[in-house]
Amino acid sequence: MVTQKRPSWLAWFWLLVAFLYLFLPLVAMVWSAVTSPRGFYLDAFTDVIAAPKFAETFLFSLRSAVFTILISALLVVPTTYWVQLRMPRMRPVIEFLTVVPLVIPALLMTFGLIRFFNSVRLPNDILLTNSNEGLYVMLLGAYVIISFPFMYRAVDAGMQAVNIRALTEAAQSLGAGWFTILFRVIFPNLLVAVLNGAFITFAIVLGEFTVSSLLNQPAFSPYMLDLSSRQGDQATALGIISFVLTWACIAAIQRLGRGRARVAAV
């Protein structure tokens, strides 16, 4: 823009409007968690962190997030690698399948999962929907599907940045098998991309409500809502913690992105 003579007060005005709308609720949330009739207090935070149910549900969600990330990475990285190397024709199919979870609401996915697993009997007449372990498997399955759009996009972009064909051929000429190539060459080279997908998955799983609540799993977010009817200020404190964690995950992704840009510049 050579002639930048636009009245930028309009830009300031809309920025201010958006700022007020986006920040006032956060300010109010913090305010309501740290004030009481007696004045400033942090009891809501200390009490809720000391509550055994908090540790239980938080660890449950944490563990689920770690499992989700592991399964997701183990499925997405080899598949993306194989498609780019050997079956480029399948790329649109994979791309489509990894976008679908973005538009299918978690509610419908859970609904379908229950219906489907109610009709499938595993050997020994085991029904997944009958046991808590079975429900946990369904929960992880749903989480992994939900993570695919983010994991795939991150890994696919990361893989285009490194020359996987050259890496593969180099490894092969040194006598490496497929397993070695995947786990000792491809995975280490994609660490940043996988971490990128991992952080967003982490944030999503930690805040996830629908699937865990419908499958009766003791996750963090349903606990938060449940708590709000009894201990409003403690629940709000949890909300703040959850927001800060989301923010930390996004910040980590941006930091990673910057790191990669620097490497690329060198």
Binding site: M1, T3, L10, L15, L24, W31, V76, L113, A203, L225
Partner: protein
């Protein structure tokens, strides 16, 4: 197909053995784990909803489930959901679009731009329970706004502005705005300065440039993003149920589906599947609109290139 085979043989392709080998290649085996996973946890479950929506409990084909959707509770929930989605798609597009414009072309300092983009990454993912807490803390009966307004004697009634139709609109817009920013910033950055210069050289005013050049070019992108926001709001469940709680048990389609799913509120299992199926249709149509307008948006920019 036939012509392909003949050209392959006439151009003296490798020996029959090699061709056979490549046709029998086991490359596809590498994709089995991924496809099996997607089939078990995504495709079969989705299909099972569709199948059950169109059959009765004995497995016979029927439209009775779909016909049940005319239940007044369901039509009212649909009306609410569609209206809230429409309103927040518009409000999110307008506010998000203006914010995206302010940080790209509005001449604001660079650090504001990156701060807004960072926040948008968080805000678009900040739906659900904590978001509801934040708005209750702001607009609730003893919320921040009412505390601040106390000296003036004015008070905001949370029953009208928070726990109901307008409350949903206000809260949904919160995650719609950042999403719109994330989608529109690249589109706005795609506007070339040559177009503006050309318009200015021809004597166009600021308004004329936006009215006849920039806006028509951006239109498909805006429409596509609005469609995405619509689908986003339509499928929102957590925020609605956390905000409305016990008083809104039949307010939005997603809440009705979830309740039907938990306790069979209608006493008709087939109806729940028909409802879920109808949601898939609505979302499918919206995504079709999104894909169509995105293709148009791309054609625009490519043509000018």
């Amino acid at each position: 197909m036939a012509s392909v085979t003949t050209t392959a043989t006439t151009t003296g392709s490798p020996t029959p053995w090699v061709r056979l080998r490549s046709r029998l290649s086991f490359d596809w085996v590498g994709l089995v784990p991924f496809f099996a996973f997607v089939a078990v946890f995504l495709i079969f479950p989705a299909l099972s909803i569709v199948v059950r929506a169109l059959t009765d409990s004995a497995g016979n084909l029927t439209l009775a489930n779909i016909a049940g959707l005319t239940n007044p509770v369901i039509t009212l929930a649909y009306q609410n959901s569609l209206l809230v989605s429409l309103i927040t798609a518009v409000s999110g597009s307008v506010l998000g679009g203006l914010l995206a414009w302010a940080i790209t072309l509005g001449g604001l300092p660079g650090w504001i731009r990156s701060a807004v983009l960072s926040f948008s990454g968080v805000g678009a993912n900040f739906a659900g329970v904590p978001l509801v807490f934040a708005f209750v803390a702001l607009l609730g009966r003893i919320g921040l706004l009412n505390q601040l307004l106390k000296p003036t004697g004015v008070s905001i009634d949370p029953q009208t502005f928070l726990y109901g139709f307008w409350g949903l609109c206000i809260v949904y817009t919160y995650f719609q705005v950042p999403l719109m920013v994330l989608i529109m910033v690249p589109a706005l950055e795609g506007l070339r300065k040559e177009w503006r210069e050309a318009a200015e050289n021809l004597g166009a005013t600021q308004t004329q440039y936006w009215r006849y050049v920039a806006f028509p070019i951006l239109m498909p992108a805006i429409l596509g993003s609005a469609a995405l926001l619509f689908a986003n709001a339509f499928s929102t469940y957590v925020t609605a149920t956390a905000l409305l709680g016990a008083i809104g048990q039949t307010f939005a389609v997603t809440i009705v589906v979830a309740n039907q799913f938990r306790t069979d509120t209608f006493g008709d299992p087939g109806l729940g599947f028909a409802l879920a199926f109808s949601m898939m249709v609505v979302i499918g149509l919206t995504i079709a609109l999104y894909t169509w307008s995105r293709r148009r948006a791309e054609r625009w920019t490519r043509k000018v290139e």
